[in-house]
Amino acid sequence: MNYETIIGLEIHVELNTKSKIFCSCSTGFGAQPNKNTCPVCTGLPGALPVLNKEVVNLAVRAGTALNCDINLINKTDRKNYFYPDLPKAYQISQFDIPICSNGHIDIEVEKEKKRVNLTRIHIEEDAGKLVHLEDEEVTLIDYNRAGVPLVEIVSEPDIRSAEEAVSFLKTLRSILVYSQISDCRMDQGSMRCDANISVRELGNKKLNTKVEIKNMNSFKEVYKALKKEEKRQIELYSYGEGYKVVQETRRWDSSKGRTITMRTKEDAHDYRYFPEPDLPPVIIQESVVKNIKSSLPELPKEKKERMIKEYNLTEKEVNIIIEEKEIADYYEEVVKKCGEPKEAANWIITEILRLLKISDKITVKASYLSDLIKEVKKGTISNTAAKSVLEELAVSDKTVQQIIEEKGLRQISNANELEDVVEKILFDNKQAVEDYKTGKKRSFGFLMGQIMKETKGKANPVVVKELLTNKL
């Protein structure tokens, strides 16, 4: 039997605001516990919320970047439930009228283009964080995150595989980061994803019971959890009568690599939503929406199309470069300075991205990388030498010139100078010369290598190759 997987995602994204959604406390990550709190965000009796207008602007920005309709007359609602990290015992959110609706994101999986529709985007406040101490009978609560502004983005159940889900998340993330709406760090919790997943026999129109998966903290985990859950559900259906998927919320346990029941439908909360009486309706002026629309930067999709045309890069190269806005901006800066789009792409894709795995930000100035590329182009240094210059650039403040001089990496391109070396190597390796002459073309590479070794890599390979060919 063939099955089809149906996935819908709910993504929570923390917005890039300086202060919280309903008070002036800082949203900074990593502060001392409960440092960024006040009577409002800790829900002290009598305290009242005041909406941070920047939150509305960023939500509109998100809606615009994600092709949504913007709702001009908005209200907020209370979502009531008890949990120690929720200081008021209700979350101020939006229920029946979200700020944005009917959007879409275009994704690509293995060259297949696909549109995933978005149901809605709404604004809400984040809750605090529980800290369970090991071997201690206490739970500590940090309310620094309570009141940090979020948007919840809900997709339609248009996603058909874990691969598509990850592609969707990556595309969404890059749009939001490009638009400066959020930094979308899954590791810091500024982007969080829940998934609704069900499977059905291929060709069947009716949707089967869905299961909600929570606690996936990276794209990789989203992939693994969905694969695992897809398998679990298909297996249950394959057993036939008596085995059923039940509607429930399951938690992904990454250490065990499986999902575990959190709560079933019977335990589901009745959130008792009702309009938030402490906040008046939020009216958005059409002019504000217009301004936000016109202030949006170039988004990944447009950037990709432009880069392919403008720099003559392959789609694969561009995909890598534009995945992070920081890299794309860096790339364009390097190209502007050195005028070598292809070379710049190679250097960034192979070397800069490798360095990024070691340190989490780019430590080589764009102007230095462009100098380096220019030097290679001029033939001042070899490609190999350039790599060692880059290593040094990444950890020091020295200029390209300084490093080349210090390390004595300047390439020998003078044919007279090199001729002696070539002669010497040919004399020392008579066997290899013989081999070459009897048709073993591999010997050419060996001889080239010996020459490079002799010159400590400083010989210009183009010149050496020419000399060697002539001599042989």
Binding site: G46, L48, P87, D270, P277, D278
Partner: protein, 491 residues
Amino acid sequence: MNLERFTIDSIKQGLMSKQFSDVELLTEYFKRINKYDMHIKSFITLCEEESLKKAKEVDEKIAKGEKLGFLEGVPVSIKDNICTNTIKTTCASKMLNDFIPPYDASVVKKLKESGAVIVGKTNMDEFAMGSSTENSSFFKTKNPWDIDRVPGGSSGGAASSTAAGFVPLAYGSDTGGSIRQPASFCGVVGIKPTYGLVSRYGLIAFGSSLDQIGPLAGTVKDCALGLEAVQGSDTKDSTSIKEEYCINYLNTIEDGIKGLKIGIPKEFLSEDLNKEIKSKVSESIKALEKLGVEIEEFSLPITETGLSAYYIVSSAEASSNLGRYDGVRYGYRTDKFEDYKELILKTRTEGFGDEAKRRIMIGTYVLSSGYYDAYYKKAMIYRQKVKKLFKDAFSKYDVIVSPTSPILPFKIGEKTNNPLDMYLADTLTVNVNLAGIPALSMPCGFSKSKLPIGIQFMADHFNEEKIFRTAYTLEQELKVDNVPQMKLEVK
């Protein structure tokens, strides 16, 4: 010093002309409080030391000839659901028995800035839920006119503290009549301002869309002064209004009411109404007519359904507002518990009184899925209708008049076993809160048994000025002696 007849004006003049110092004044007030409050029990917390310290500062300011605040040196009481920095704020609940707010309510901040002296925090029904102050977790407050009777509620401590001459000015809160009904029961003047005129920041929420802070005082002028002192927009309360709606009421209060049109909603004077109340209110209406207003009876059929809508909306909001009392961050926490569920269950079972629990249950029920449309949604639709009916009425009338309470102050314990009967006491006041309009209660006479009877004036949003002018004019005409002769055994 004749404290029970002191007005804000006479205090200010006395201080300025150095007839007495503020320390002398506060000392006298505390003498009176210490003598009588053991019987009346208006206060949960008294701040004698801080008050005298503040009074000393006032005296120093006067001596130096410094500019004085709007209420400089005037003693005020604050209902115990309004947050006072470093002073315990309990909501008369075991739940907040030890709660000391780390901040001042915006109203308290304004009062401090205007030089008022906070003498103490007054008793109330727990979380302002009730009409008799019998729902206080701590003790019952007595009516200074008859200590066997309730002072009304929920601002019973505020009203009794004013009637008993403990303070010339008190601040209470009104969600469905909680200022006006106790003002009526205790024979004082109290106003629930237009929703949004006074900041709610720091008022511990009961029904957020209905709650308003307002003043209670012995005279209409002092009540108006009390409102002027605290009204105005507040960036910390998103429902507070623009500054342009804030008017000086004293400028026009003596201008008379000739030509005003007053409407009498006949449903507010129904058969169920106490006969003595009906006759006193009718006398006042006649007096108003003599003073030159045009009186017209009209139909405003909102009393019964309004009461139901009120209890649905206020309880729904309360069930949400009271969720935060879970024993995790502040307030009461149960002794022993195994997990979060048990912590919250036991904390709330032990910490809340019966009435608070009743409202939480009603509110939770009406918001539950499957019941929302039948109750909460319907109530909200009805609320819009109430607003519209009032708007229509105010297109014809400047002021609407009715009794404040359909019943006289009742005996302590008389209604505690019948919550529904208690809810009916709010019939004439709750619609005002649903509509968000201002309404004032003032004494208009007494029953044969010498119990105060209150008359209520309502006006359109931000028309407090008309209310004060009408009330002041009637007050001058009726000259009701509203100082109780407290025949108390002094131990």
